[in-house]
Point group: C2
Chain length 370, copies 2
């Protein structure tokens, strides 16, 4: 996929709404993206690689202007484009069948590599539902998980707010271009997420909020995440789409139950009837995710520390455990002591906590309890 | 099991707390219950069929007096003993591993043969929980299912009340002798159940409410029922025992979800996590039970109408459907038209309703809708 890392080429295809499937076919046919972009219109004819309009757009001067504009946008602080071939492109999102070919990023791009949980739900949530979403998000973020959601009103808003209060922070996946924040009433929250968390979009700059883009966006929310938690949802809620895509992507789905007389609980109950896991606390979510998290950590260790491939994962875990004292030890100290990246440490700390070996303290510190 | 139908013999063993397993061993050893009762103490020695105290009690004059008292009790209207070998002893209860050898009955013994659903839950239920229990019970009873519960305060009380409002009525399984009603505050409800429904107990007359008898009683509540529905239950609730015995007996377990902030919902949520079906309405319960109900009906048809054994069940169902008009038809009319017993009709009516062929009306009437 390394050829899919060339930013100017990828921005050109992105500007013409080329899908991942189309891009793969183009790459196979032309041998490289550069070849494709340097081909004449006649080379594209009758190939069914792209629509006639897409070919026209791709080879136009207008496309080159848009690529330049996009490159200029990414020169600003905290703004970047992540093509799918980039090593920083989040691994779980690479694994879905229809990944975005490029993500726009505003904020801390490193957060995208951390293990994440999506928390979604109704825009018309109850006060209680908002508090529940915030509690789950705060707890899971305090354990080092990023909280991924869609910046909508209601549950999404509460999830981001809770996520910002913990170490894992929050990832907002939006359905507009990154040069605008929607809805307007979430301007403040959006800016805070750009400052402290990260906001991403697969849509080109200037994209307005369009109904048909929201379900597309939902596959990214679930695709980034180990699991999707639905807090409150009516029967026709868009969050049920996110839950369905999570299942299709082989990810976990969690739902918070509620009174059978609360219409905003009916979507959650439907999910549980269909096999989603009923959860009552962040701890429930964490326990269900632990196996999956171990798998991701093994993957990450293999990728980031090739020298350790044949070493059992237990060894790095006990190295970490040895670095944690009975007095609180901070994340910064652990990075120095273990020489491991934060994203790998966070997952291992979670597993040690689940195993009852250590206890999470305030301010991203841990201590041994055995 | 026909030998287990002889009432005076069975009452003697019942008076001495002989279990079903013990009774089977005794029957195997002595060839008949009568032989056993006519044997001398030396015949029982070193056989480990019963404890020394049980043998002593069984062969005492005191035992004969207790049998006579029990027989006298059953001479009163609406009072009876059902030994396990009786054809009226409810079939589902015969199938559990440790059935009672004898049931005392006050009220309408025929209700025991109808398909039943247990509805149980907390004694400290919320007002909303009580209403939910009553709603489920009323709906399921209107569909012809008997509502089985334990006459306790809280959810049990609401379940019985709802059951009495429908055609299926209610079955109270109590943990005392049938000559007393416990708790005292349910005297009125108890008497109403004896008048309109049925109250049963496996315990000898005079048995006071004893802590260790309540869990024993719970196996009968679940054992009589196709499934057990838990409406509200805290984590240490006795209704979780009933749910567990239901699972052990291969019956369905249903639970009503609630807010994660309601301690009385935690037991239900635990059950759902362990595999119980989340239900939001009586209709949900009915749909889950329909396969099981079909099995019971097939069994009943085989037993009650031997001539029909080789006839497909579809035929009797379409005979029933033909008897139902587009104008409401009453249960009494259907009994006359189909020459089938009420207990078999009720189940078939339910299946026709689930299949969308007929619609239940008020006052135990149905009409075709196709």
């Amino acid at each position: 996929m390394s050829n899919f890392a060339d930013l100017p080429s990828m921005l050109a295809f992105h500007a013409c709404y080329v899908s991942f499937q189309q891009l793969q076919a183009i790459h196979t046919y032309f041998g490289s993206l550069e070849n494709a972009l340097n081909s004449s219109p006649s080379d594209w004819q009758n190939r069914e690689l792209l629509s006639a309009k897409q070919v026209n757009d791709l080879l136009s001067d207008e496309c080159k202007i848009r690529v330049d504009e996009a490159l200029e946008w990414a020169e600003k602080d905290n703004q970047a484009w992540l093509p799918i071939g980039s090593t920083s492109f989040p691994q779980p999102l690479k694994e879905i069948t229809d990944p975005p070919i490029l993500l726009g990023v505003r904020g801390n791009v490193e957060l995208l590599s951390d293990p994440q949980v999506a928390i979604v739900g109704s825009r018309h949530a109850s006060k209680q539902g908002m508090e529940t979403a915030k509690d789950f998000a705060r707890f899971l973020s305090q354990q080092g998980l990023g909280i991924t959601s869609g910046l909508a009103l209601g549950i999404d808003t509460a999830a981001h707010q809770g996520g910002l209060q913990g170490m894992g922070k929050t990832v907002a996946v939006v359905a507009t271009g990154l040069d605008r924040i929607y809805p307007a009433s979430n301007q403040g929250l959006g800016h805070q997420i750009v400052e402290e968390g990260v906001m991403i979009s697969e849509f080109v700059l200037g994209t307005k909020p369009l109904n048909y883009n929201f379900p597309k966006r939902n596959r990214i929310i679930s695709g980034l995440s180990l699991g999707t938690l639905v807090v409150e949802a009516a029967l026709k809620s868009g969050s049920l789409i996110t839950a369905r895509t999570a299942l299709e992507q082989g990810r976990e789905v969690f739902a918070v139950p509620g009174s059978i007389h609360n219409p905003q609980a009916k979507g959650c109950h439907q999910l549980i009837k269909q096999g989603a896991k009923l959860v009552e606390s962040g701890q429930d979510v964490l326990e269900e995710l632990s196996a999956n998290l171990q798998y991701r950590l093994d993957l990450q260790t293999t990728q980031e520390l090739p020298g350790l491939v044949t070493q059992p994962n237990n060894q790095s875990k006990s190295a970490l455990l040895n670095s944690i004292g009975y007095e609180p030890t901070s994340l910064d100290e652990l990075v120095v002591l273990t020489k491991q990246p934060v994203s790998s440490l966070q997952g291992e700390l979670m597993l040690l906590e689940l195993a009852g070996e250590i206890e999470a303290m305030s301010a991203a510190r841990w201590r041994r309890i055995k």
